[in-house]
Each structure stands twice: as structure tokens, then as C-alpha cells.
């Protein structure tokens, strides 16, 4: 009795059919949140149960899966989910963005440009962009039905009135295909432009809130803004301390209790790829220098 008692990719077939139907409607109505009968998963809410269910419904034996958490392949959440699918579906896994066919992500979009055969699956905590402005589901649903998004503009305006600029730094609301206002999940607004006209299909799963939504490939995604306060992606004004990248999204890491800090790429695969290609920053790790020297010495 040591045979695995789970179906391929954990979910039963009836559940997969239900999720698959929701995904098809989500693609047909870009940015609209399709309700679905989210299941309990063998991990707590907040750990990506929505993304995991979407991934389980689309994953096949030929897929190569990558899972990132805040850009990193090596954090607990990313490793757990990658192992979960390696075990329940037997799929190949990778950390390299360009080798993956399905990428499940928590809070980042990879720096490497996505391509047409890839699917990006987002883990979403609160799918409703209007939820913190209007707690009633009946009301937010009506607002989406009427495309009545004045409240969101008021919120952004209040940011400007209070701080002099739009202070929303993550989960920055977007309008998809000029119709639905959508929460891009808590990705930094740095990543918002990558969603626009992206060649890859983007799917969003919210497990606790029981919603699935999608952005089809090559679809217009506009970050909300004002003429006199246009949308601006934010990035720390520093190169990556490990790979020297000037255009990647950076994490700030405190290194001591005297105010020391370093900025490194949040996307570990991108950073490692650049270091392996010989790029280095002010604090490059020694092994790469040694490798580079070995290579130089033949």
C-alpha cells in the first residue's frame, strides 16, 4: 500500500473540469473574475492555493515547471510548490525562465521576457481591486458590471493629494482590454508594463477568494493614472550588487546593524544567469570570480 493515492497533479478530474471551464471563460472575458469552486489544498490559504489549483488544471507530463516567490526560486514557498508538482505530477522542474513552459509566481514577473508558448500563473491573495474601497461583493460586482471605476481614481487622487504622487507601489490597478479594472496581484508596479501586450498567456488564481481571471496574450493592459501624474514604474536607484544589472527590480537587504545594506536582483534566475555570463557587481560572490578566472586561465 505504498502506491500514491493521488490523481495526476493531485486534483480529481471533476475539479479539473470545473477549473478548466472557469479558465476558458476567464480568457474569453479578459480581466473579469470568474467565480470557481476552490478546493482545500494540502497547504494553507495564503501559500498559493489558487495558483496551485490553476497550475494543477493545466499541467501535463510534457510541461516544465518553474515556481518563483518574490522572484526567487529558492524560498520555502517556491520549493514546496515545485516539489509538490514534481511528486504528484512527475513533471520536470527548472529554475531557468526560458526553459519553463508553466511558471507559477508569487508577486513577481520574471525579468526575462516571456514567450508565446509559456503560461504565467499568478498566486492572488485579494483578487478584487475595489475590495478595500468597497467591502460588499454585491456592490463591487455591480461596479464592474457598469464599468464604474470612479472610486479607484478617487483613491489614486487621494494619494496625490496626501503625498504629492501616486503612492501605490504594488498591486497597482490596471485596466485590461479597455474594460475591466483588475488587480495584478501584489507584484511591484515595476512589473506592470510587462503585462501589456505580453506574448504569454497570464492566468490568475485566488484560492481563498475563489476567483480565476486571465489576460490573454497580446492584450492591452494599462496602469491607471492621470494626465498630469502619469504612471511611473519604481526601482531603487542602484545597480545590483551581485550582477550589476541597471534595469532589474531590486530587493534591499540589510547586512548589519550599522545601516549597511545591499541591493540585489529580486529575480534570482536572472541574476545568476548574468553572473554566469560574466557580469558582476560591487559585492559579487567569490565562486563566480574564481570560475571566471579559471575560464580565463583555460
Amino acid at each position: 500500500m505504498n502506491a500514491p493515492a493521488y490523481n495526476f497533479a493531485y486534483l480529481d478530474e471533476q475539479t479539473k473540469r470545473m477549473i478548466r471551464r472557469a479558465i476558458l471563460k476567464a480568457i474569453a472575458i479578459p480581466g473579469y473574475q470568474v467565480p470557481f469552486a476552490s478546493r482545500e489544498m494540502p497547504m494553507p490559504y495564503g501559500w498559493g492555493t489558487g495558483g496551485v489549483q490553476v497550475t494543477a488544471a493545466i499541467l501535463g507530463p510534457a510541461d516544465v515547471l518553474k515556481v518563483i516567490d518574490q522572484g526567487s526560486d529558492d524560498t520555502t514557498n517556491a520549493i514546496s510548490i515545485r516539489k509538490f508538482f514534481a511528486k504528484t505530477a512527475g513533471v520536470a522542474t527548472t529554475t531557468a525562465t526560458d526553459e519553463a513552459t508553466v511558471i507559477q509566481t508569487r508577486h513577481r514577473i520574471p525579468e526575462t521576457a516571456l514567450r508565446a508558448h509559456q503560461v504565467l500563473v499568478y498566486q492572488v491573495p485579494i483578487p478584487e481591486p475595489l475590495r478595500f474601497l468597497e467591502p460588499r461583493e454585491t456592490e463591487t460586482r455591480r461596479m464592474h458590471a457598469l464599468a464604474e471605476y470612479g472610486l479607484m481614481h478617487v483613491k489614486l487622487y487621494e494619494d496625490i493629494a496626501r503625498f504629492g504622487h501616486i503612492a501605490t507601489a504594488y498591486a497597482y490597478p490596471v485596466k485590461v482590454n479597455a474594460r475591466y479594472v483588475m488587480d495584478p496581484s501584489p507584484t511591484p508596479k515595476f512589473d506592470n508594463p510587462k503585462m501589456d501586450n505580453c506574448p504569454a498567456l497570464q492566468l490568475f488564481g485566488a484560492g481563498r477568494e475563489k476567483r480565476i481571471y486571465a489576460i490573454p496574450p497580446y492584450t492591452q493592459v494599462v496602469s491607471l493614472d492621470f494626465e498630469d501624474h502619469p504612471f511611473e514604474p519604481y526601482r531603487f536607484n542602484a545597480p545590483c550588487a551581485l550582477c550589476g544589472a541597471e534595469n532589474s527590480y531590486l530587493d534591499e537587504i540589510v547586512t548589519d546593524d550599522k545601516g549597511g545594506r545591499m541591493f540585489v536582483c529580486s529575480d534570482t534566475d536572472y541574476c545568476e544567469g548574468r553572473q554566469a555570463a560574466g557580469h558582476h557587481g560591487s559585492l559579487s560572490a567569490a565562486p563566480y570570480k574564481e570560475k571566471a578566472q579559471e575560464a580565463a586561465n583555460g
Binding site: I27, Y32, P35, I58, R142, A145
Partner: protein
């Protein structure tokens, strides 16, 4: 009189065949106008193409009311096969159907007779699956919309001939609307409600 034992079989491997078929349909829906292939084989009752049969086995179950056009509904093999393999209830009222199966496109009823969804729940709409003669030759249609990089060209031989004119109602209805899946043998093309025809050749 066909007994259950004589019905055409379903998928040999239910799990992986359904997954592969779904990915073809998902890719079709995500890239309107592109022709996707359905690889897994399943038995198909007489008026049903193998692509249609695979989609039925992949997406239909007791939660999805089905509407069948007259040619499908007349065939007891089709209704028995669907009932045995999917358990989906067949309904007469097309306005409550999750899916509609159409084998005789020439007799396609008015699209308004299907579920169009509501403004609050536009997803509660019928997906209309139409079997067509060809998705590789025939008139050419230039399509644009989400999922399409610029313009996609579809060559197809479709009945009803005015399908795309009829689908123009999706423009005014959006976000409500009808999503269409075209099947020709093992080829599948999706025309979600966001897709627009820019021009038609001959």
C-alpha cells in the same frame, strides 16, 4: 438499438487525454483564429467529429447542461454516448445551456436564444461548439482582438455562412456574449466574444 457495450469508447487514458485536449482548447481560446490540434483519440458516435468528442469528454459533466441541435439530438447514439461518458444533462431550453453542440451549422438558431450571461456574471454564457467542413481551406477571415498579435488570418469553410456577421452582436453585448469553438475533425479554432472580424476575402 445500441447497448452500452457497443457504444464508442471514451479516452483510453482519461486523465492525460483530457489534459492534452484542454491545453489545445485553452491555446485556441487564448489565440483566437489559430488552428490547434486535438491529439488524443476517443471513439465518437456517428454525427460527432472526434475533436468534438474529445472536447465533450474533457469539459462536460453533471454540472454542464447541454443543448444539442436537431441532427445531434436525433441520434440516439449521440445522446446515449454523452449520457454514459459525461453524465451531462441534455436540455431543450438553449438559454440555460453551458454548452451547445451544433453539427448542422446551416440550422444554427439565433445566437440570442443561447445564454448570454448577465452584466454581473458574464461568464454564465453558452459556449457554442460548431462542427464545420474545414479549418484549413475556404474563405479567409481576418481577425483581431485580445490574444492576436496584430491580425490573424483564418481560412475556413463554415456554415452558417454569416456566422461572423451574427457574432457582431458580441460587440454591443460585451462583457456579455457568446463564445464559439469551431471543430473540423481534429482541428479546433476558438472565437471568443472579444474577437472581431476586420475583413473577409472570398
Amino acid at each position: 438499438m445500441t447497448t452500452i457495450a457497443e457504444l464508442p469508447p471514451g479516452f483510453a487514458d482519461k486523465v492525460l487525454s483530457a489534459q492534452s485536449t484542454f491545453r489545445s482548447v485553452m491555446d485556441a481560446m487564448a489565440r483566437p483564429g489559430s488552428v490547434q490540434r486535438i491529439v488524443p483519440m476517443a471513439g465518437a458516435p456517428d454525427t460527432m467529429m472526434r475533436g468534438t468528442a474529445a472536447i465533450a469528454l474533457t469539459l462536460f459533466d453533471h454540472d454542464t447542461p447541454l443543448w444539442l441541435d436537431a441532427r445531434m439530438a436525433e441520434s440516439s447514439d449521440v445522446t446515449k454516448w454523452l449520457k454514459f461518458h459525461t453524465g451531462a444533462p441534455v436540455v431543450q431550453d438553449s438559454s440555460i445551456a453551458s454548452f451547445a453542440l451544433v453539427s448542422d451549422g446551416g440550422a444554427l438558431p439565433s445566437l440570442e436564444s443561447f445564454a448570454l450571461g448577465t452584466s454581473e456574471y458574464p461568464d454564465r454564457s453558452t459556449t457554442v461548439i460548431i462542427q464545420v467542413d474545414s479549418l484549413s481551406s475556404g474563405r479567409s477571415f481576418e481577425l483581431r482582438g485580445p490574444g492576436i498579435d496584430g491580425i490573424a488570418t483564418l481560412q475556413a469553410s463554415i456554415k452558417p455562412f454569416d456566422l461572423f456577421e451574427r457574432l457582431r452582436m458580441n460587440e454591443a453585448l460585451f462583457p456579455r456574449g457568446i463564445d464559439v469553438v469551431l471543430v473540423a475533425d481534429d482541428a479546433v479554432v476558438a472565437i471568443p466574444r472579444t474577437t472581431r472580424v476586420v475583413s473577409k476575402g472570398s
